[in-house]
Amino acid sequence: MVKKKRKREVPEINAASMADVAFLLLAFFLMTTTMNIDKGIMVKLPPWDPENIIDVKIADRNVFTVLVNARDELLVEGEPMDVAKLREAAKEFIANPYGRPDLAESPQKAVISLKTDRGTSYKMYITVYNELKAAYRELRDEAAMKKYGVPFDKLPPDKKKEIRKMYPIKISEAEPEAIGEQIGG
C-alpha cells in the first residue's frame, strides 16, 4: 500500500525549458543550413575510344557548326551571330519548317557541332550550350503540345520517348583548339 502511494507521487518534469533547448538547436540548424538544391545542365559524354574513331560522313547540310573563339565571339555556319539569336537559328535548322535545301533534311539527321577554343570562357560555353539545349527543349515542347496538348515534361514516359525520337539531341563537341588561349589571359 505504501509503495503504491509513493509511485504515484513522481514529480512532474518542468517542460518550460524545452522550448529554449529546441530554440538553441533550431538556431544551429538555421545557421548551418544551405538551402541550395543542386541544379545544372545534364550532359552525357561520349565514351573514350581512341582506337575506333568512326569517321562518319555526314552531309554538309545536316551539320550545324557553332564555333566560339577565344574572344567569346560566335560563328554559326560561317557567319558571326549574336548569342541571343542562336536559339532561333538552331530551331530553324533542326526543324527546317520550309524545307530549305541548306538546312537539315530531318530532325533525326540534324547534328550540331560545337567547337570551342581553349581560351573560350566557361561562361560563354555554358551560355551557348544552354541555348542549343533550349532549342531542342522548345522543339520537343512544341511537338508535344501539337500532338497531345501538354508540354513535354507532363507526358507519360512512353510518349516522352516518342517525342525524344522525333527530336534526338545530337550535340557533338569537337576537341578545342589552342589558338587563342593566351588572348585575354
Binding site: 543550413t33 545542365i41 570551342t116 566557361y122 555554358i126 533550349a134
Partner: protein, 157 residues
Amino acid sequence: MLRKRQTGSKKAPTISTASLPDIIFMLLFFFMVATVLRETTLKVRVVVPEATELQKLEKKSLVSYIYIGPPMPQYVQQYGTAPRIQLNDVIADIKDVIPFVESERAQLPEQLQPFMTISLRVDTGVKMGIVTDVKQELRKANALKINYSARKRVHAL
C-alpha cells in the same frame, strides 16, 4: 458590456505556452531535413554560371563534385592565381582526376555504379582549356554522366 468586463478583471489570462516547444520542434525538424552539411571546405572560388535548362540532381549519394576555379585568397601564396582543380578537400592535378573518380565509384554499391554523376562546379571566369582536360579525363575514367552546375537565369540574354 464588454468594456465593463475588461475593467472588472484586473489580471489578464496567461497565454499557455505548452505548445510552444511543439511548434519549435516542428521548425527544427524541417531545418534538420532540409539542411545539407557541407563536408568539403572550398579552397577555390566557384561562382557557377547562369542557365535556363536546369535539371535537379536527384540522388545526392550518387553525385561526386569536382570544383574548378582560382584559389581562394589565403591559398594564393601556395597555389598561385591560375584556376585549379579541387577534389574532395585538396587542390589536385589533372592526373589525379581518374583515381578520384575510381575511388568515388568504388564507394557506391555495384548496382548503382552506372548511375554515378559527376557535378562540375566551375567558376564563370575559367577558360575552357582546363575544363576540356577534365572532361577528357572523365571520359577515360568512364564517368560519362556529368552535370554542369549552374544557377537559374532570370533575365533575358
